[in-house]
């Protein structure tokens, strides 16, 4: 399989962004400083694998919350599409639209698929200071599950882990 994407690795400052979260509200990464953040790039709302992947994170909503983490889904779908998808799937977390210019944020994180015009299926865990502490690129057709995210978040629960800069 050709793998052209290079997701930003652990230790890299997470590029900031300001994207539409709802039809009348934007969200910036800066606003989440002091919290752990999980960025979930996925190819498209409504696709079978994406639906399963987000359904799993939805079930784990309270566990992520307990670990002090906010989960944010990102795709190139428009904000109205996200709104319908969130409502239909009862998603508890924010979905951001990397819509205009299309895929600009995904490109900054190294996870845009030029040929398809969608983002990769990629995960980033960002620490309280805005540094990427774990990243993972999954084959587009494979649901990466949540075990890697949980391990990364758990490793960031202890003060000793702060600043080590290594991926778990």
């Amino acid at each position: 399989m050709t793998q052209l994407s290079h997701p930003l690795p652990a230790g890299t400052p997470a590029p900031n962004f300001t994207l539409w979260a709802t039809p009348d509200q934007k969200l910036s990464l800066d606003e989440l400083r002091g919290r752990l953040v999980v960025l979930v790039f996925y190819p498209a709302d409504w696709s079978p694998v994406c639906g399963d992947q987000l359904a799993l994170y939805n079930e784990l909503h309270s566990d992520f919350h307990r670990l002090g983490a906010d989960v944010i889904g990102i795709s190139v779908d428009g904000v109205w599409c996200h709104t319908a998808f969130r409502e239909e799937r009862h998603l508890h977390f924010t979905l951001l639209s990397d819509f205009e210019p299309k895929g600009a944020l995904a490109s900054q994180y190294g996870v845009y698929r030029e040929a398809d015009g969608t983002t990769e299926r990629a995960l980033f865990v960002i620490d309280r200071e805005g540094i990427i502490r774990w990243s993972y690129l999954s084959p587009v057709g494979v649901n990466p599950g949540a075990d890697g995210i949980l391990e990364a978040l758990e490793s960031l629960q202890h003060p000793a882990a702060a600043g080590s800069g290594s991926a778990p």
Partner: protein, 180 residues
Amino acid sequence: MSRLTVPVSKRDHLQGDPKAPLTLVEYGDYECPHCGRAYPIIKRVQARLGNRLCFVFRNFPLNEIHPHAEHAAESAESVSTHGGEKAFWAMHDMIFEHQRSLEDAALARLATEAGVDGKVVLSDLAASNFRDRVREDFMSGVHSGVNGTPTFFINGVRYDGPWDEADLVAELEETLVHLA
């Protein structure tokens, strides 16, 4: 390669010889249509592999999309506690055979049919007596890389291939060859 983080033990619901050379663990959701489709397939796979296979069922209810999945799982656990493993498997089978009506009253009727007083199961559901038991299964699945339902593990390794009868039997028999 994802592996089962919590090994099969006495706390599990299993069919067949726990010492069998092959162990197939399913993480399933009683309201999931794919698990419903897998249910008769697993039965046929068990029949074909006979005493070479031990089958284990663990709970992985996706409650946000399947509103009855949690109570279905808790009711099966309740039946297991009050009626034993034979009753559990009767309940497990009946739930998959009645996937379209899994509201509490229906679960209570199935429990009675499995040999446990439906009222006892209803009071367990009301008190969430088996919620933690179900959640333990769920979290063991999450930590093992379960990403949807059904997810299968063959001898502790997540199996990502197709799970039609022929595919599963072929994979299990190949695993057996590698063991030899």
